[in-house]
Symmetry: C2
């Protein structure tokens, strides 16, 4: 049975989104079709707005509705510490924990020779420029603990050598609540390597 | 950290959709934000179109872009057999198997006293009218095999008593490829109840 064109079109567009397959796209389409008209209109407007009203912060490349994002323009934060992440979304994930009080730098990806992405395609040059023009005490490399993320971290750490900036990498180890029995050897090895002194208050 | 309003708005709208929680809504929003502008525009247009261009078929209440859907207007189909389903989406699921050559009747829900939905809120009256004004041989009740679906099927079957229309219910039993060991007792009991004669060609 041929579906009416507007249905097929919506299903096709939804399927382009990550994690949405044929079945989910169908279910969402039929849901929107049965729901109130205002809901579809609001969603439609929100989708367009996110491209029209959101820009990347000119300092950190995180998302913002102004030239400079709320974090970069916040004078109460420590702008001498930069946390380097891969994607704009990672800024929100880090902010969610509420522990970090410095600023961010979004690389807009990772070095990935297989996909033809080299250091020049990322914002690594701008990060380097920050250490040369501003007083930066520490750069925390918070790229993902996978192959591309690790090599990108190594690349940046090497580049910063001799810059008089402390370069650190977030700890890799067993997730809290995890189980040694089910940990993979690489994680376990990293967790051993990154062991810290037990501290007691007395 | 406060997110820019357009981001929060899109996340909120996406969260209204079935099966989409906070995390998925965030991921989709950031994906659309980073993707090309045309993608967001196409999706936005498709969402509005589905409400503007799609109507419910006046005969079966299935979705259509014309007054009468392709199935209801198809003269090659047997309009003496009506398959009764709960939602417009179910029509596609049934059509997908390709075995059914009659027409459909979408109830637009099920009888559910807890949600305040009675027979008058559904298209049950129109189904009855069809049996009175047209030559209907059989009504196949293909509502879901859950509590509301079963009671709705029983309600319709009772209503049709004395109408000289054959009223049937789709079989409930073990799914093909299933395992008796893991079947629930109700399904197993239904599968025993609905057992059929083994037929051999010789």
């Amino acid at each position: 049975m041929k579906r009416p064109a507007p249905v097929t079109e919506l299903i096709e567009e939804l399927k382009r989104l990550p994690g949405i397959g044929q079945k989910t796209a169908e279910r969402l389409s039929f849901y929107l079709m049965r729901g109130p008209k205002e809901q579809a209109e609001k969603l439609s407007r929100a989708v367009v707005n996110i491209k029209e009203k959101i820009v990347l912060c000119k300092n950190c490349h995180g998302i913002s509705d102004k030239e400079l994002c709320d974090i970069c323009s916040d004078t109460r934060r420590d702008h001498g510490v930069i946390c380097v992440v891969e994607e704009p979304y990672d800024v929100y994930v880090m902010e969610n924990i509420g522990d970090f009080k410095g600023e961010y730098h979004v690389l807009m990806g990772v070095i990935s020779p297989l996909d033809g992405i080299g250091p020049a395609d990322l914002t690594i040059g701008e990060l380097k420029a920050k250490t040369e023009t501003r007083e930066i005490k520490e750069i925390i490399l918070a790229t993902n603990p996978d192959m591309e993320g690790e090599s990108t971290a190594v690349f940046i750490a090497r580049m910063m050598k001799g810059c008089n900036v402390r370069v650190t990498r977030i700890a890799r180890g067993l997730p809290v609540g995890g189980d040694i029995e089910y940990a993979d050897p690489v994680t376990l090895s990293k967790s051993l390597e990154g062991r810290t002194e037990m501290k007691f208050s007395d």
